[in-house]
Amino acid sequence: MSEPVLELDDVRVVFKRGRGHTVTAMDGISFRIAAGETLGLVGESGSGKTTTGAVALGLRRPTSGTVRFLGAAQGRRRPRGARAGAVQAVLQNPHWSLNPRLAVADSVAEPLAAVEAGRLRTHHPAALRILDQVGLPASFAQRLPHELSGGQRQRVAIARALITRPSFIVFDEAVSALDVSVQAHILNLIHDLQTEHRFAALFISHDLAAVRYLAHRVAVMRTGQIVELADAHRFYTAPRHPYSRQLLETL
């Protein structure tokens, strides 16, 4: 197997809540994601999957354990700067995934401008190319988010994430708020783009059906721990952990 893009090794995250009260959001989490692979992360809210996403993105530093990105351990200082452009995210709420006052082309161009410097406008040609790849014609470039439907906004968010050719993308409940038929479009799109661009993906969702469609492997989280991590096919046909079986009952 090739070198993992992202590797978490025995990561713990402990929050302080008031006087002496602590919450363990991640308790000894280890997994690795290879290029072109999708790891599905499922669990109820409060299970720690959102924190896991934040650690994978470098937004939160673990209390203990190591996070390796492309083989390099995440530095103590400014963990994000070095990875700018190599890591991107598509986040949950299509309503707020885009700045309501920025035109689509500007929103999409922003990550590239952050990596290569320059004004947003200089990166518009690249933005138009990537918008085309996610199925949005150039006529969308100057529109504002409120002129788009939920599915179109999520396409823009995906274009934004792809423009820097990242090696790793986190999808945090990226399709949960969409209608079934729109969801299908977006799931297909993510699948096609991954086949083409070979990025590693962490697909966080409470929707087991969406995870089954995209993920190569599935990790189930509960109270900060991974209770089962298995090949997707094996997981959906013969879940081993009782909690996994309970989750799959509702599918």
């Binding site: 995210a89 949950q92 990550p111 934004r160």
Partner: protein, 286 residues
Amino acid sequence: MKATAVRVRRALAMRSGDGLLRGAVWVLLALVLATLVGQLTGAGGRPDAIVGPRLQPPGSGWLLGTDNLGRSLLPRLLQGIGTTLLLSTLAVACTAVISTALGVVAGYRGGRTAELILRIGDVLYSFPAIVLAVLVAAVLGPGRTTALAAIVLVTVPLMTRMVGVAARAVARREFVTAARISGVSAPTIMLRHILPNVAGTVAVQGTYALSVGILVEGGLSFLGYGVQLPDASLGLLIQEGGLYMVGAPWLIVAPGVVLVAAIMAINLVGDSLRDRFEPRETRSLV
């Protein structure tokens, strides 16, 4: 039948709301125009010219009456409106700049920075406005600068807090998180993402601050710490008028009416701005 009646009533309600706003805008425009015309053309005479006997009721040579020195009230009132509006507008512009900067930083950074900024604001806010203003006057001595500084000090805490809360809400949005993940620098995020999305709040709070500013200026000058004679401001005129309230009530009525009208008009404009900007924002904050 019934449906028509309901529709008519609704239309009327809409009209009266609109009319109120339109009235408020007209009042403000009229005040600004009056001072401009008064200052530029000298209409109504020079403010310091003695035009007739003392304490005369409104008459042909002195449309709003004369004061205790025999000066016509009209030119003094025009000058006073000008001073008050200019002073408070200038002060609120300062407040808007300071509060927006502090609020956006506090909202984006969160944590200790926000805590510090907002706590200092709370301490200032806990003083009654006029006590704070008098304190400033005690340090700086009476005068225009004092009035200006006092208005800024009184209006900054509330506006910083409101902008800070709005900025906090924006900073929690997915698009800000996404920008951070993409490696966009903090100043760029604040300027590109947060500032434009709190502009509505700044405008609304600015109008409220303006009405507070006018009140503070009035209060300070009334107490003798603000604008000094022989200049005129609304507060100063009201203070003077108060001395002769029994014998010459027109001296306090005219500036008093102007002050109340200005503050009401500004608040009405602020309310309608808020209705226009915030319904979407407040609903989505929950």
